[in-house]
């Protein structure tokens, strides 16, 4: 699957790179869905780092597609979880146990990378030890600026806030602390005049 090139945007919008094997005593890899492909690509560059790797994988809609191939990399620890939320406690524990020299690899959707990066930063992992690579869905994690509720996996602009029901337009303004983009009521000045939703980046 080819990688999606995000259009150039404003300064608060995150940019993602390409995972590369880096020397480290331990490697924490957090991925969702097609992020598995980036880990497989990483293994093709240097399979040896997986001997000290802990993979936390959330397959989402990909189901079993990548699970066996990831397992075949023989990571030191391999966890498959149903949702990111379900894995958070585990991620926090791993990060709190981390020693100097931990390398963190985040890959998959923006929502997963943003939230996991937040956990890593909160745990004091230096920015320079965290790599990211976007794979798979371009869906966004959005915060409603009005009710503060988070809507996951937003694919259209505008969209309906899953908490307060307002029609929100999708901004590129991004908060790393919230790991979310900002959604603002689209028909505030002309109530009821909601444009037809279009798929993001189309």
């Amino acid at each position: 699957m080819s990688k999606f090139q995000f259009p150039e945007s404003i300064r608060s919008r995150p940019v993602y790179g390409t995972l590369e094997p880096r020397p480290g005593k331990a490697h924490l890899m957090i991925a969702d869905a097609e992020g598995a492909e980036a880990l497989l690509d990483l293994a093709a560059l240097d399979a040896s780092i997986f001997r000290a790797a802990h993979i936390i994988y959330i397959p989402k809609a990909t189901g079993e597609t990548y699970v066996d191939r990831l397992k075949a990399l023989e990571p030191a620890q391999f966890y498959v979880g149903p949702t990111y939320e379900a894995s958070v406690q585990r991620i926090r524990r791993v990060l709190s146990d981390a020693h100097m020299g931990l390398q963190v690899y985040l890959t998959g959707t923006e929502g997963l990378m943003g939230q996991a990066q937040n956990e890593a930063m909160t745990a004091g992992i230096p920015h320079s030890a965290i790599q990211t690579e976007h794979r798979g869905s371009v869906a966004r994690r959005m915060q409603c600026v009005h009710c503060k509720g988070i809507t996951e996996d937003v694919m259209t602009d505008p969209f309906v806030c899953s908490h307060c029901g307002l029609n929100l337009f999708v901004r590129d303004h991004y908060s790393r602390r919230l790991a979310a983009f900002q959604g603002v009521r689209v028909d505030a000045e002309d109530p009821g005049n909601v444009p037809e939703p279009v798929e993001l980046y189309k």
Binding site: I10, R11, S12, R13, Q143, V145, H146, K148, L166, R171, D172, H173, S175, R176, R177, L178, Q182, V184, R185, A188, E189, D190, P191
Partner: protein, 355 residues
């Protein structure tokens, strides 16, 4: 002079009014007949007597009512005041700066008596007489930043400085031009300005950051910024935009003079002594179009500035749809005569409207 504090509202019935005194001292932001972004910084070391630049923290006739409006906003949404854990000391710095400045600049309104760490603070307009221990949070009803900025007009952003960068790590933001502290808290200088068009490409923010990083204790700076607001609404927050946005579509030729307001921010910048943070007060002044045009020079100039403003800026500032109505109104007050340089009203030297 003794200030007569207005009984007025910034919501619902919008009884906010500027007296003649407030109109003449309004911080008109255009020094020439056109506008483009610039860093436009100057030293904040006083200004002409009676002007909004004279004191460190200007107190005017709207003080008591503005503080009442802030209390309403905070009761509805406590997230408008936030401080990341490492910013408490900067909060105390802010409290000290405001208490010392106000008690020295307005001794008839504010008093500060210090006996070591035991401080007694008297705020006469708000009826506060409170003794507390400096640097001991348990002796205040809330954090030091919230405590003092519930008693000071304007928003306050507190910027932490590290790695040659400024971070929006604390603030009291209830009178903002459509940005959210809750969303932006923790962002660096370029990130929280990310939505501003054109200015990044012009290098404005790089130059501004360089300037701000070098502000020294005792040498504050200031600049003006501006936008437009329909109705004298202080709380033009994104949080409440779904409620107030609709007011922008209520302008008619009959009501535009009283409803449409020029919104000016007097932004100042202070280095704080203990935390080395940068205090960034953003004081909002509102004036109705019908009051601006009582100053002939300002009427002429505002028409020209709004007419010639690049489309991106009118869009970003949120009045592109209302611009034709504004120009219909303002053109009545532009007779084509030249205007004197600078921001002052120049009532004695500028000719009255010639039509």
């Amino acid at each position: 002079m003794t200030i007569q504090f207005n009984e007025e509202t910034f919501r619902d019935d919008y009884s906010f009014r500027n007296s003649d005194w407030a109109i003449k001292r309004f911080p008109f932001p255009f020094h020439e007949d056109s506008y483009m972004y610039s860093v436009n910084m100057e030293q904040h070391r006083g200004g002409p007597e009676g002007s909004v630049y004279e004191k460190r923290f200007d107190v005017d006739e709207h003080y008591v009512s503005e503080m009442r409006d802030r209390a309403i906003v905070l009761a509805e949404d406590p997230l408008r005041c936030q401080s990341l854990p490492h910013m408490t000391l900067a909060g105390w710095d802010t409290l000290e700066l405001i208490m010392v400045s106000k008690s020295e600049d307005y001794p008839d309104l504010f008093e500060l008596h210090r006996d070591g760490d035991r401080w007694r603070w008297i705020n006469k307009p708000m009826g506060i007489d409170h003794t507390f221990t400096f640097l001991d949070e348990t002796t205040l009803p809330c954090g030091p930043l919230e405590y003092i900025t519930r008693q000071a007009q304007g928003d306050f952003a507190v910027l932490d400085q590290r790695n040659d960068m400024l971070y929006m790590d604390a603030g009291m933001i209830t009178t903002q031009a459509d940005w959210s502290l809750d969303f932006d808290i923790g962002m660096d200088f370029f990130e929280w300005h990310a939505p501003v068009p054109l200015a990044h490409e012009m290098g404005i923010f790089k130059r501004a950051l360089k300037f701000l990083l070098n502000i020294q204790q005792g040498a504050p700076a200031r600049r003006l910024n501006w936008t437009m607001t329909v109705n004298p609404l202080l709380d033009t927050s994104p949080e409440n935009y779904h409620k107030w946005g609709v007011q922008k579509s209520t302008l008619t030729p009959e009501n535009i003079g009283s409803k449409q307001h020029l919104r000016v921010e007097l932004q100042t910048f202070y280095r704080l002594p203990r935390s080395n943070a940068l205090l960034f007060p953003i004081r909002c002044y509102l004036i109705a179009f019908q009051d601006i045009v009582t100053i002939p020079k300002w009427g002429r100039r505002l028409h020209r500035v709004i007419r010639d403003l690049p489309e991106e800026l009118a869009t970003y500032k949120g009045f592109i749809d209302n611009r034709p109505k504004m120009l219909d109104y303002l053109s009545q007050y532009d007779d084509g005569l030249p205007t004197s340089p600078g921001v002052w009203p120049d009532l004695d030297t500028e000719p009255p409207l010639q039509k």
